[in-house]
């Protein structure tokens, strides 16, 4: 080459090493956002806390969970699930912001792993979920929630929640890349989330809903996950069935949305 210039400091690394290293760098970048803009975290935790207080003390008396458990124990696994569902909106907004600002375009001109942005973003959201879910468990204990299955039941429930949240992140990553604008991403996320969160067994037992709504409310991913988490934390007879259903949803979601998001990322401007 005739252009003799001080050689760049770039280093050839094996593809997998590069993919992990780049994903770590991007995860770090997104986690810094939570330190720099603590409102992101504060508001995403205040909202579920309000839900807890509202359902526990205002509506709770009117809702009768199946079996003999106190409403707060029915409620809290629903709240945990709701927390990770709402948290996934941040994935859409974050990526849409990056599309709009031109940052993704710059990333696409760098010799970085193509997987890094999506892997990094979803890992950062997973990390955030760990924090928020643990906080909600503490809130739960404060308002009278008790785990019946011991430490391992609690841990298994939390791991399932985090896995579910991770799968949802990929749905919303796809949405964020497609709309490419943070306000639109926010607006687009709500209609997706509303039927999942409200027509579900999160706050109200499915048996109390109209019969035409029950099949959806019982089998949709959010309800199934909430049921599985309830079984894992409170004990139940259908634990294996609910956990398997929830895992099937998570894996199904990942199988569809990982390729969709990756394909969109390759084209996103």
């Amino acid at each position: 080459m005739s252009a003799t210039v001080a050689a760049g400091a770039a280093r050839e690394r094996p593809a997998l090493v590069r993919a992990v290293r780049d994903a770590k760098a991007v995860t770090w970048r997104y986690l810094i956002h939570y330190i720099r803009v603590p409102q992101l975290l504060v508001f995403s935790t205040i909202q579920p806390v309000i839900f807890v207080l509202m359902f526990r003390y205002v509506f709770g008396g009117a809702i009768h969970p199946p079996g003999d458990i106190p409403y707060v124990e029915f409620l809290m696994p629903g709240i945990f699930t709701q927390t990770v569902v709402f948290g996934a909106i941040a994935t859409a907004i974050g990526l849409a912001t990056d599309v709009k600002s031109g940052l993704l375009e710059r990333f696409r001109s760098l010799p970085m792993a193509r997987s890094a942005v999506l892997a990094g973003r979803t890992m950062a959201d997973l990390t955030r979920n760990v924090f928020v879910v643990l906080l909600m468990v503490a809130v739960g204990f404060a308002v009278g929630f008790r785990v019946h299955t011991g430490f391992w039941g609690l841990l298994a429930g939390l791991l399932l929640l985090l896995f579910f949240g991770y799968a949802l992140s990929w749905i919303f990553a796809t949405v964020g890349l497609y709309v490419g604008d943070p306000e639109t991403a926010q607006a687009a996320a709500f209609p997706l989330i509303a039927p999942l969160v409200f027509a579900s067994s999160l706050f109200v037992p499915v048996e109390q809903m109209p019969s035409w709504l029950q099949p959806w409310a019982e089998h949709q991913p959010v309800s199934v996950t909430a049921s599985a988490v309830r079984d894992l934390m409170l004990g139940g007879t259908d634990t294996a069935y609910h956990v398997a259903q929830s895992l099937a949803w998570c894996i199904g979601i990942l199988l569809v949305f990982v390729p969709l998001a990756v394909r969109r990322y390759r084209r996103a401007v």
């Binding site: 001080a6 760049g8 770039a10 690394r13 810094i32 600002s101 031109g102 710059r106 010799p111």
Partner: protein, 330 residues
């Protein structure tokens, strides 16, 4: 192969619009090449294809011998890109932004922080280095954007309208930095809407209009075609202007009348102006206003295409038609 950047027949359509309609140019190593044109002419599309973020529909482009479609990763290892819209993370500090780019350009980890510190110093951002970018002024963000492009010491640098929106001082500083980089061996492809900028920096300029290269030459040659100075003499009445033009037409090629204004295009501005004023004075004609300006992008367009520079957001006008044409040029 001699060019650091070689572009042949590059074509890109967005729906009905041909953003690039087969452009060719070649950039000599260690030089600045200017792509000059109005908004929507296709300059940014060309840069985006060269930076591997967009694939062309046809044609080819190579950067230091690497084909942008066949070997995008090899291209990405030798380029830096700074955009029109500062593509940096507002929530990270200046230093963190540079660190991120260092990591993602596969630099040796131990070299990243020293390199970041060096660039922050050089771009006079060391005091703001540890503040989040959202506290930066527009000029500071733009400087950081360019610093980010330079982190891995890329031998080829793409600058997409780097000075748009900058104040004069920042602009001049940036020009100096670009010259330094070229002295150090960097090849720079620059897009701009300002003839002055291309003229000051570029060794060669391609003028782009509606996806075509309509001229490709050294700035001095382009300017010579235009005449380097335009003088405008305004008269109280059209009658005065008419008399002045007929008087001047005998001795000067580039005189034309537009209402009560006489426009004179010339290569030898000051000398010609003295003559002209003397002649007018002798004929007892005195202009009410006098303005002298260097040719602008608009003038380049008028002379090359017969129409004014226009962005592609507005539908393309049929060429020439009844529009004013400058006689002294082209």
């Amino acid at each position: 192969m001699t060019g650091a950047i070689e572009v042949e027949g590059l074509t890109k359509r967005f729906g009905e619009v041909a953003a690039l309609d087969g452009i060719d140019f070649e950039v000599r190593p260690r030089s600045v090449f200017g792509l000059l044109g109005p908004n929507g002419a296709g300059k940014t599309t060309a840069i985006r294809i060269l930076a591997t973020v967009l694939e062309p529909d046809a044609g080819s482009a190579r950067v230091l011998g690497h084909d942008v479609v066949q070997e995008p990763d090899a291209v990405r290892r030798v380029i830096g890109m700074a955009g029109q819209f500062a593509a940096v993370d507002p929530n990270l500090t200046g230093r963190e932004n540079l660190r991120l780019i260092g990591l993602l350009t596969q630099m040796e980890t131990s070299e990243i922080m020293p390199r970041a510190a060096e660039l922050l110093r050089r771009f006079r951002l060391d005091e703001a280095a540890d503040r989040p970018l959202r506290t930066y002024s527009g000029g500071m963000r733009r400087r950081l954007d360019i610093a980010a492009a330079l982190v891995p010491r890329p031998p080829v640098l793409f600058l997409d309208e780097p000075t748009t929106g900058l104040d004069l001082i920042s602009r001049n500083e940036l020009w100096d930095m670009i010259r330094e980089l070229v002295d150090e061996g960097t090849t720079v492809l620059l897009t701009t809407q300002y003839l002055e900028e291309a003229d000051k920096l570029a060794e060669r300029i391609a003028v782009v209009d509606h996806g075509h290269v309509i001229a490709d030459d050294r700035p001095s040659v382009l300017k010579a075609q235009l005449g380097s100075t335009v003088a405008e003499l305004g008269f109280e009445e059209e009658d005065g202007a008419t008399r002045a033009v007929s008087l001047l037409a005998a001795t000067h090629d580039g005189a034309e009348r537009d209402g009560a204004t006489v426009r004179l295009t010339t290569n030898d501005g000051p000398r010609v102006l003295i003559d002209v004023l003397r002649e007018l004075d002798r004929a007892d004609l005195s202009p009410a206003t006098l303005a002298v300006h260097e040719p602008s992008l608009d003038d380049v367009f008028l002379s090359l295409t017969g129409h004014r520079a226009e962005s592609e957001e507005t539908p393309a006008e049929p060429a020439v038609s009844g529009r004013r044409r400058r006689r002294g040029a082209a």
